[in-house]
Symmetry: C2
Subunit: 133 residues, 2 copies
DNA sequence: CAAATAATGTTGCATATACAACTTGGAGTT
DNA sequence: AACTCCAAGTTGTATATGCAACATTATTTG
């Protein structure tokens, strides 16, 4: 056999992301928001007003996934959507406030993870991204 | 601000795993099986007959997630389960055959990914695992 | 041994994800 | 302007995931 079955790159990356997500989830438990939703809020904070499709491009998410995630965030009043068929999305006032509230917890979690990963770990992550894109 | 929002370790790992999963999924599309299910079959191939809980430990999956995944694999006759409350799981004959059929495709996908990652990429992945455990 | 406690499995619920199929609107082409 | 084609959004369906609550079995303790 060419490779060891435990060596599967897919399952190993999934596992790593579950571990990291667990850290964020525990920290976010007091807020009524998930890691994924936080990520989209952060993307919008960065990008400002964008077409919905841009979010999927940035995060490698399928159109339908973005559509549903956006719907949830809209229901919670974190984002505004123009009413065209291809709407533009941006953070609402509440969305902006939520981002501001989230950042300290997010930074704590990042500290937690970085203390495990170390400077080298961050380099490894960046290198993986560079080669896998 | 301490870190750039795009720097989020959680969302970056999630994104990487989605990219890798996409490779496997495209390759597996001819079979009626998902990446996750394949992973569990591979774990069982490695571990032999094990308590259900061991699977979750190995993969960092919640009990309930394992429970449901196992149920799906059982419905497809890929695994056998003893009938106790805490059952032991193992690959069925069909499960073993499925693993044998999957391995060539899995290896192709691994080749694909490794050609992107390179030797260094694999080292980076291993290092991440070592530090994040 | 009986009761309390711990560990493990399952189910209800909510979100996350992708694909296929359908819908809708814009961009070209003639 | 009408038609075609394409890009993007939505919905149906299936799996994946975790938490909370409950069920069941094993273990510990009095």
């Amino acid at each position: 056999m060419k490779y060891d079955l435990q060596f599967c790159i897919g399952s190993r990356l999934r596992r790593l992301s579950r571990i990291a997500d667990g850290h964020f989830r525990r920290k976010l438990s007091e807020f009524n928001i998930t890691e994924n939703q936080m990520t989209i809020l952060f993307v919008l904070k960065k990008m400002g007003k964008v077409e919905q499709g841009k979010i999927g491009q940035a995060l490698v998410l399928e159109r339908s996934t973005v559509s549903r995630n956006i719907k949830i965030l809209e229901k919670q009043n974190y984002i505004n959507r123009t009413s065209e068929y291809r709407p533009e999305i941006e953070l609402s006032k509440q969305g902006n406030e939520m981002v501001k509230k989230l950042i300290p917890l997010w930074e704590e979690t990042m500290d937690e993870l970085i203390s495990k990963l170390g400077e080298n770990g961050l380099t490894h992550l960046t290198e993986l991204e560079n080669s896998l894109n």
